[in-house]
């Protein structure tokens, strides 16, 4: 019981820190609200799905970063997709990074 409480508290604080550090945002709350008795693991499923999808995407991005010269349009496309999914689950920081990346793409800023 105590351990349960402890665990709960840990989870809660971890979750809170995610918000505080700006890793996730309101959309995540929406996701949580979607979860109900019918689909108890909804959030978990979605996040897992997101990880899978983004792993693939990152791999693709890596590959295209290897190419020279850089295909900014393609990268931009990848970023857009990434941005879309990350914002769907509320991954704020990822989304911001994506946006920045897209800016660099637009500016053809290789360093960025």
């Amino acid at each position: 019981m105590e351990r349960n409480n402890n665990l709960h508290r840990q989870v809660a604080s971890l979750r809170q820190s995610l918000f505080d550090q700006g890793y996730v945002e309101e959309q995540f709350i929406e996701l949580e609200e979607l979860q109900d008795d019918a689909t108890p693991n909804f959030v978990e499923e979605v996040v897992t799905l997101f990880y899978n999808y983004s792993a693939r995407l990152i791999h693709n991005i890596d590959q295209s970063l290897e190419e020279h010269p850089l295909d900014f349009a393609k990268l931009d496309n990848f970023m857009h997709q990434f941005k879309g999914s990350s914002s769907s689950i509320g991954a704020k920081k990822v989304k911001i990074e994506c946006t920045q990346f897209m800016e660099y793409c637009r500016a053809r800023n290789v360093e960025g």
């Binding site: 979607l34 496309n77 879309g84 914002s87």
Partner: protein, 662 residues
């Protein structure tokens, strides 16, 4: 209907009621509406897909998801009545979201909602131009999804209205669709539930009666491209004035087609033409692009042009006026050209004709709704502007007065023109000129209107943009527009092409102005042409103004044009027209206001344009007449001091616009 089909309906009650309610044919809304709404979601992102599915299920909708557009399209085709609404992502690897949007709109005429993480105005504008009912920005919130049923209702209502315009049951249908007996789950329907259930009883009886009637009613006719072509041919053969459903039906000789089908389609077509006339500018641009097309196209286009222009004129008050001016300016030849392109576009647009119109009314506030059409306009790249200005100069001088009239239309036209010109820049221009020259002189009003439009636009543009717009340059720029526009619109924008040609003629035909002016008055018959040009012209300028004004339209116009090219011509035109009209009229009151104001102290156009998409095309003719005078004066004034004119008109015109019902 859903219930009857046995689809899984999450909410139960009303099941017994719904069983007895066998909607006649097109009603697919279940009694527990909006529950049980059948949604098809298309997105390549699995995360998003899953989230959407969950959200939609929470709203008690039926969800089918697909991560490939092709697959979704085939599902839709297999089961035409299997879905009520489609939600699609914009960026997909296998097919562009806008293309899918067009297909769905054309073939199945279902409401489509676009989504994207991209919230830039031009993309949103593109969505609207292509006929999207709504545009959601990712991350999608559940509140946004809760209300998507409104689009289904709206669309059904419009369909019913058009289909059964000669039947009085449309209202009933609408009511019936909206009566979920007990949807207390939904906040939106909570209130409706109670009164709906009380109404249901009464309506059920009515429905049943209607069902009896509707069983004898033919099922909804899908106006395929071929069918529409036949229809347009028949209409052209008869002459737009004499085109009565009965005769059209006879000419078409299509088994299974009823007079009612033809009548409602004719109504839509007329509206479409009217809109085209307002968008004549675009068409000009389109024409330009079209120039590259084989002569055959032109031929067909010309025949349509006349009709379409007229129709457009009729339908679009604003356009009508602008058309007149455009026509006047364009020496008529261009007008004919534009008319041609317009019909083509119109035809296509007719398909999605309703949609754009609907869209506008629905989403005036939202870019989504109205921008579709506007997008066409907005799509015009800003580059056109400089060119247009030059062109406008030439023609605008004479059409100052005309511009006055066609302010509203011009705006639209301008937008169109802008688009068009951008697209079609050079090849079309040359062709158009040639063709327009060969075109009928009867279009003089067009040419006239065009310059006027151009001028007006210029003036508007000036307001917005600045110095470059000389009224004179308007005409030239208008021509440019058409040229530019045509390039992009080649695929679909027959009408556009014609409009471009119209535009080009404008510049070349300043001389004709005088002739045209006199002709305009006399030749009412070509109002459509005028409208088109005027609209085009007007639109062009408005477009310029729009971007400046910063309205979404402006920006989206430019961007949307390129995008719209991909879209079927009809979509483009419709969108353009509607967007233009809308821009001028309402939605973009900031933009429309100034534009309209510039052109005409008033207003008939703007006011009318807004009000009538359906009925008043005839009215547009009248305003045209005196619009022209006004335009002339306006043009003159503009020439003197664009800035002054603009300001004067801007404010005057504003109020009518503001009052226009959205």
């Amino acid at each position: 209907m859903n219930l009857g089909v046995g689809s899984v309906v999450k909410t139960m009650s009303g099941a017994s009621c719904s069983v007895s309610w066998k909607s006649g044919g097109s009603d697919k809304v279940s009694d527990q509406f909006p529950a049980g709404l059948r949604v098809l979601v298309v997105d390549d992102d699995p995360t998003c897909l899953m989230i959407l599915e969950k959200m939609l299920r929470n709203c008690h909708y039926e969800v089918t998801k697909s991560n490939r557009a092709e697959h979704a399209l085939s599902m839709l085709r297999e089961n035409r009545n299997g879905f009520d609404i489609v939600i699609s992502d914009v960026h997909m690897p296998d097919m562009d979201g806008f293309k899918l949007l067009e297909h769905v709109g054309l073939e199945m005429d279902l409401p489509v909602i676009m989504m994207s993480a991209d919230d830039s105005k031009d993309v949103v504008m593109k969505g609207v131009t292509h006929g999207a009912c709504d545009y959601l920005i990712k991350p999608v919130r559940i509140e946004a999804l809760k209300n998507i049923w409104q689009h289904v209702i709206r669309k059904k209502k419009h369909e019913l209205k058009d289909k059964d315009f000669d039947q009085s049951t449309s209202v009933e249908d609408g009511d019936q669709q909206q009566k979920p007996p007990e949807d207390v789950d939904y906040s939106s329907s909570a209130n409706e539930g109670s009164w709906k259930s009380s109404k249901r009883r009464k309506e059920e009886d009515e429905t049943e009666e209607r069902d009896d009637l509707s069983t004898s009613k033919k099922p909804r006719v899908v106006w395929s491209v071929e069918l529409h072509q036949q229809f347009v041919q028949a209409v052209n053969q008869l002459g737009i004035d004499k085109a009565v459903p009965k005769k059209i039906l006879e000419l078409m000789n299509v088994p299974g087609l009823t007079r009612e089908n033809v009548a409602s389609h004719l109504q839509k077509y007329r509206l479409y033409l009217r809109r085209l006339s307002g968008v004549s500018q675009h068409q000009n641009g389109l024409n330009n692009s079209f120039m590259g097309h084989p002569e055959a196209t032109y031929g067909t286009m010309t025949s349509f042009n006349g009709l379409e222009l007229q129709a457009l004129a009729a339908t679009g008050q604003l356009p009508a006026q602008s058309l007149a001016t455009l026509q006047a300016a364009a020496l008529g030849r261009s007008a004919t050209k534009s008319a041609i392109s317009m019909p083509l576009v119109d035809q296509r647009n007719l398909f999605s004709f309703e949609n754009p119109k609907l869209r506008f009314s629905e989403g005036q506030q939202q870019l989504n709704n109205s921008n579709k059409q506007i997008n066409l306009l907005h799509g015009i790249p800003t580059t056109m502007e400089p060119k247009q200005l030059a062109d406008l100069h030439q023609s605008s001088q004479s059409f100052v007065a005309m511009n006055m009239q066609g302010n509203a239309r011009m705006q639209q036209n301008n937008a169109l023109l802008m688009h068009m010109s951008q697209q079609q820049q050079q090849s079309s221009r040359a062709q158009m000129l040639n063709e327009t020259n060969n075109g009928q002189v009867s279009r003089p009003p067009l040419s006239m209107s065009q310059p006027a439009a151009v001028l007006s636009r210029n003036s508007i543009v000036d307001n917005v943009r600045g110095p470059i717009y000389n009224p004179v340059s308007q005409t030239s720029s208008m021509v440019d527009f058409s040229l530019n526009q045509t390039t992009e619109l080649q695929n679909n924008s027959f009408p556009l092409v014609s409009s471009n040609s119209g535009m080009s003629t404008l510049t070349s035909k300043r001389l004709l102005l005088e002739e045209v002016n006199s002709d305009i008055k006399g030749s009412r018959g070509f109002p459509p042409g005028y409208d088109i040009f005027e609209e085009l012209q007007q639109q062009k300028t408005p477009d310029w103004g729009l971007p400046n004004i910063g309205s979404n339209f402006g920006a989206s116009d430019h961007s949307s044009i390129p995008g719209t090219l991909d879209v079927s011509p009809s979509m483009l035109v419709q969108q353009g027209i509607s967007s233009m009209k809308k821009n001028g009229l309402n939605g973009n009151s900031p933009i429309g206001g100034p534009q309209l104001n510039l052109f005409s102290g008033g207003n008939l156009l703007p006011v009318k344009a807004e009000q009538l998409p359906d009925t008043s095309y005839q009215n547009t003719f009248f305003p045209e007449q005196f619009g022209q005078d006004d335009l002339m004066s306006a043009l003159l004034k503009q020439q003197e001091s664009v800035g002054q004119v603009e300001t004067e008109f801007g404010f005057d015109g504003y109020s009518p616009l503001d009052n226009l019902p959205v």
